[in-house]
């Protein structure tokens, strides 16, 4: 909340450039500027590098993984890392390395798609609430308050149980629970921006409301949304891991990292800690990478904030 309130005025100055006609000549240096500042942030670059690597791993998973996700090597149960099985094997002899590699697909797909849904829903609702104000605003905000009153994990776990436990339902759940914060952020930006002169000018020109909302105001409200969206992907992957851990995520044999951690608990902890460490490290590094990139984006988009 405070973040957006501080950010919005910062954007207004930048928004004072010609707004209607897309001035590409002015836009390019700005973007280059952001990239220059971003490059200087070592952690953010490290995070970006990891995300790119992970995406490549996910895309080329069949080429990288030496075994299939259901392939069992008989007689090799809970074996530690070796040359044949880099990350060891799990309780029924499956190769942990291959499953972690394929798990990247699951996590990234869920992370990106769920965040996309959250952003779209949040944008529409938040923009509507912030732009129209009044009764529409209080209705939408009351609605989000109600959902925020249900602790997130309980809401997610309940819905997951009802709509079934699959990758698609997890995407839907995380998307449909993630829009709450997006709505708040977008609304806060819109509340500040809708009173500005260029909006008044656009209204006077007779543009339709959707056009003003999405073509005129939205580009100026985009910064906090981009930053939040980046961090949200990490948060969604974390939530997906948590939901998989409690057993409502994608079901076997789909290799969700959270479910792999859950399998490593109990008796396996003593005999096969590698079953815990590798998927756990995958989750942590991925989440951390998105957090670093998000932080880096925030600092480079708005250097005044720091």
């Amino acid at each position: 909340m405070t973040l957006t309130e501080q950010t919005a005025p910062g954007r207004i100055e930048a928004g004072a450039e010609p707004t209607d006609v897309a001035d590409l000549g002015a836009a390019r240096p700005l973007r280059a500027d952001v990239w220059r500042r971003f490059k200087r942030n070592r952690l953010a670059m490290l995070g970006l590098g990891f995300i790119i690597l992970l995406t490549l791993v996910a895309i080329f998973a069949p080429l990288i993984a030496p075994y299939g996700i259901t392939e069992r090597s008989s007689g090799h149960f809970r074996e530690g890392p070796s040359l044949d099985h880099w990350f060891g094997t799990d309780a029924i002899g499956r190769d942990v390395f291959s499953r972690v590699v394929y798990g990247a697909r699951v996590s990234l797909r869920i992370g990106f798609l769920a965040t996309l849904i959250a952003l779209v829903v949040g944008l529409i609702l938040g923009a509507t609430a912030g732009f129209f104000g009044g009764a529409t605003d209080s209705l939408i905000m009351r609605f989000t308050d109600v959902f925020l009153a249900i602790p997130y994990i309980i809401l997610a776990v309940s819905i997951a149980t009802v709509v079934g436990r699959s990758e698609n339902s997890i995407i839907l759940i995380l998307g449909l629970t993630g829009w709450l914060f997006v709505t708040r952020i977008v609304r806060a930006s819109f509340l500040g921006l809708r009173r500005l002169e260029y909006v008044e000018a656009a209204t006077a020109l007779g543009f339709s409301r959707p056009r003003i909302m999405f073509r005129h105001i939205l580009p100026n409200a985009l910064q906090p949304i981009i930053v939040y969206g980046t961090i949200a992907i990490g948060a969604v992957i974390l939530s997906e891991a948590a939901l998989s851990f409690v057993g409502v995520g994608p079901q076997e044999p789909i290799p969700a990292w959270g479910a792999m951690v859950a399998q490593a608990g109990g008796g396996s902890l003593a005999s096969a800690p590698h079953m815990l460490f590798f998927p756990a490290a995958a989750i942590c590094l991925t989440v951390l990478a998105f957090v670093f990139v998000g932080d880096g984006l925030r600092d480079s988009l708005d250097p005044k904030l720091k």
Binding site: V146, V157, V162
Partner: protein, 335 residues
């Protein structure tokens, strides 16, 4: 002030009502017949007579609106019904489970406040020292480690390994369960209890401690720059008084907001911690009930959690006035 509190209390009612009704309908309106579940799960085939008897006993055959009305009539009298699974009273389960959760939460809170505040404070005072950098990295990493991963790693490190490495008996902690369940003064563990308590308490505290430390640091840095800190020093106050009484109290305002907002995160962390350590609290019961589709237990416990959540937020709002006397509650709308 009083009228503000009353108004806020009244606002809780519709929120809780809509939230619980939503959960109620989710479980009834969407596919999956509860009677079938009570009879043993969606895939199993049951004799038709069984389903009818179940429907009759739990009133599941009634139209959904009638059931909805019945549900709220009972809930208002704080009769939460009985478990589909073993017919135990939900009130009883709630009482039992809540106590275990609260005990764990108290210790987690103690750790959070002690560690989070002091680490944040020290980082802010010694800005850019190596300990500050270290703290910044640790808090960032800590908030990216899933609670359940931390729980398992701690179990492995302090409960599994000590047995394999033959550590002295006093250094061996326990992986899971509540243990002998012996307490004095409600929350102080006695006997062997502490071996079971330490790891889940640390695990539960981890996420919020990291957030608290980071927030305290940021907020303190802001305050340390302000004019009244210079004034306080100029009039010759001891550095400790300057930092604690003038600095920390003013830095607390955004921090308190965060603690309130993070109560939701804390509930999520509690669910995962209790599941990881098989701690018999509300969180682990909620997960079990969701998996069993034990609707009365789920709704009853959720009601308790949602109410607690609402009250914590109320207390947070009220505490603003204490931390910052300039804030007058109830005058004008708060964002």
């Amino acid at each position: 002030m009083t009228s503000y509190i009353i108004r806020r209390l009244l606002q809780i009612i519709p929120t809780v009502f809509v939230a619980l009704s939503f959960l109620f309908f989710i479980f009834f309106a969407l596919p999956g017949d509860p009677a079938q579940l009570i009879a043993g799960g969606a895939e199993r085939s049951v004799e038709p007579g069984v389903l009818e008897r179940i429907n009759e006993r739990y009133g599941l055959g009634d139209p959904i609106l009638v059931q909805f009305k019945d549900y709220w009539q009972r809930t208002i009298q704080w009769d939460l019904g009985e478990s589909f699974l073993n017919r135990r009273s939900v009130n009883e389960i709630l009482g039992e489970r809540a106590v275990a959760s609260i005990r764990l939460a108290i210790w987690a809170l103690i750790i959070e406040v002690l560690v989070g505040l002091s680490v944040g404070l020290l980082s802010a005072i010694r800005r850019y020292s190596w300990s500050d950098r270290f703290t910044t990295i640790v808090t960032a990493v800590a908030s990216a480690i899933p609670v359940f991963v931390l729980g398992f790693v701690l179990q492995w490190l302090f409960a599994v390994k000590p047995n394999q490495w033959d550590w002295p008996e006093w250094a061996r902690l326990r992986t899971s369960g509540i243990g002998p369940d012996s307490w004095t003064l409600f929350f102080i563990p006695t006997g062997e209890q502490w071996r079971y308590l330490i790891l889940p308490a640390i695990t539960l505290a981890s996420v919020t401690t990291a957030l608290l430390a980071r927030m305290t640091r940021g907020s303190m840095l802001e305050v340390l720059r302000s004019d009244y800190m210079r004034t306080a020093r100029a009039k010759g106050l001891r550095e400790r008084d300057v930092v604690i009484r003038h600095g920390l109290r003013n830095a607390m305002l955004p921090v308190v907001t965060l603690i309130g907002l993070d109560f939701g995160t804390a509930i999520g962390a509690a669910v995962l911690t209790e599941t990881t350590f098989s701690w018999p609290g509300l969180g682990s019961q909620i997960v079990t009930s969701v998996n069993d589709r034990d609707l009365p237990v789920l709704l009853g416990l959720t009601l308790a959690v949602v109410l607690a959540y609402a009250f914590v937020n109320l207390i947070v709002d009220i505490s603003y006035a204490w931390f910052d006397p300039r804030i007058r509650l109830g005058k004008g709308e708060q964002a």
